[in-house]
């Protein structure tokens, strides 16, 4: 495994971190309070090539391998404090772009990918339902074939990017008697007859990444928008999750680095009992713990991405990376708050938001409990 960044990769990473610091953080406290998506920042990121990092150049992307992609996303997370915007970009990339790239017909790729890469089109994934979360394939949403269209009926919850999306990758069962083998993916466009949005889902963290319910009521989806074969939804989702789990938290590794540096700077500057608090061993221990968690998380991230670059399945490695990064992110944010004391609890210091943003990461893309179940199973248990 070669983890030496080339000059070109280093330049790109530095450029993205600087861009993010300069262009994406203004007005964040207010946007977080209002739960407001930064569409301008979204388009700026797209123009920088972020949305299309792993997408081949023929569709407007940069054609980067998985390792370079996560390295750049790590830099984005390092520079950009708007974790909600970064999450929206990741959801768009891993749960829509990559499934289209992996399972789409040439026509589907040509129709959707250039606009997804340019940021003109926003993607969302519609999988979870009121009664099927971790047991995702127990979904109630159905798709019945009528001539050359499918009629989708059902409701989806926790749809990230739901309120702002132009296209949804929706999962529905074409034959519930087949159980999970009937699950099929559909690219449902925003203006499809029968598609409607529920209320905006207000969240504890990642508030700048909008979320909503999505309803399908005899929603007409052309057969040409079926993604993959009928019944292929199970592997479509598994592949999408593999990408998502392996890469969605790359930015969180950058965020952890930012929290670590901020905590070190504060520990050197803040004095109590006549000396900087960084001289106290209990503060030092927290910072050392943050550093260890950061490096371990980064190593697992890079391993999963490197293996993905070798075109190997990474179900085990992605589950491990996702679980360790998410749990480490939360611990780093908790330590950062503790080191900052009462100031860390205030909105002004922008640590409390980091903690709120981190907390959801052990829930989405499969809970930590599900990741442990997958890891145990793949170890033969």
């Amino acid at each position: 495994m070669d983890l030496q960044w080339s000059d070109e990769q280093t330049h790109l990473r530095d450029e993205i971190a600087k861009f993010a610091r300069d262009e994406l953080n203004h007005g964040l406290i207010e946007r977080d309070r209002a739960g407001e998506f930064n569409r301008d920042g979204w388009l700026k990121c797209a123009r920088m090539g972020v949305h299309g990092l792993p997408v081949p150049t023929e569709f407007g992307g940069l054609g980067m391998d998985a390792l370079t992609t996560v390295g750049v996303l790590e830099s984005l997370g390092y520079g950009c404090q708007d974790n909600g915007l970064v999450f929206s970009i990741n959801a768009h990339m891993w749960t829509l772009e990559m499934p289209v790239l992996g399972f789409g017909t040439p026509e589907q790729k040509k129709k959707f990918l250039p606009k997804l890469v340019s940021g003109e089109m926003i993607g969302a994934n519609a999988m979870s339902e009121p009664n099927s979360g971790s047991d995702a394939y127990a979904m109630a949403t159905t798709a019945k074939k009528r001539g050359d269209v499918y009629l989708l009926n059902g409701s989806k919850v926790f749809c990230s990017n739901g309120p702002i999306a132009d296209v949804y990758l929706a999962f529905a069962n074409v034959d519930p008697s087949l159980g999970p083998n009937g699950v099929t993916g559909f690219l449902v466009e925003r203006n499809s007859p029968g598609l409607s949005l529920g209320k905006h889902t207000e969240k504890m963290g990642l508030r700048t990444s909008p979320m909503s319910e999505v309803f399908f009521e005899d929603c007409e989806v052309p057969e040409a928008n079926r993604l993959g074969r009928e019944g292929a939804g199970k592997m479509l989702f598994a592949d999408s999750m593999s990408w998502e789990r392996g890469c969605i938290l790359a930015s969180a590794v950058g965020t952890m680095r930012r929290l670590l540096e901020k905590s070190i700077a504060y520990a050197k500057e803040r004095e109590q009992f006549g000396q900087p608090i960084g001289k106290f061993q209990m503060v030092q221990a927290k910072i050392v713990d943050m550093k260890m968690r950061l490096d371990a998380a980064r190593a697992l991230l890079y391993r999963a991405a490197w293996q993905k670059s070798q075109r190997k399945s990474v179900y085990l490695e992605a589950a491990m990376a996702k679980m360790v990064i998410s749990e480490s992110w939360i611990e780093c944010a908790r330590h950062a708050m503790q080191i900052h004391g009462g100031y860390g609890y205030t909105v002004e210091y922008e640590i409390e938001r980091e903690l709120r943003d981190a907390l959801g990461s052990t829930l989405y893309s499969g809970t930590s409990e599900i990741q442990r179940t997958i890891i145990a199973s793949l170890m033969g248990l």
Binding site: G102, F103, Y137, L178, G179, P180, N181, G228, R229, G231, A232, K234, M235, L236, A238, D239, S242, R311, K312, S313, Y315, L316, T373, I374, S377, L378, G380
Partner: protein
Amino acid sequence: MERQAIVDKVKNYVLAQFLPGEDPNELTPDTPLMTTGILDSLATLKLVTFLEQEFNITVEAHEADAENLNTLDQIADLVSGKL
């Protein structure tokens, strides 16, 4: 590698991992695995990982469905096509 050798290796793996205690004679080359639920979603991931490591191949995500992995025969076809 001969096709029968692929079938035998995969059969042994499926018996050990997903059908412990089952009479090996009951698992024939055309016994349905996915459509009967022997290979559920997690078991499918395990099988794909096994195939990639054992035969040093890459199984694309879109290939890992009932059209390619439902029986030992189909799995052997998929694997032998990649060797």
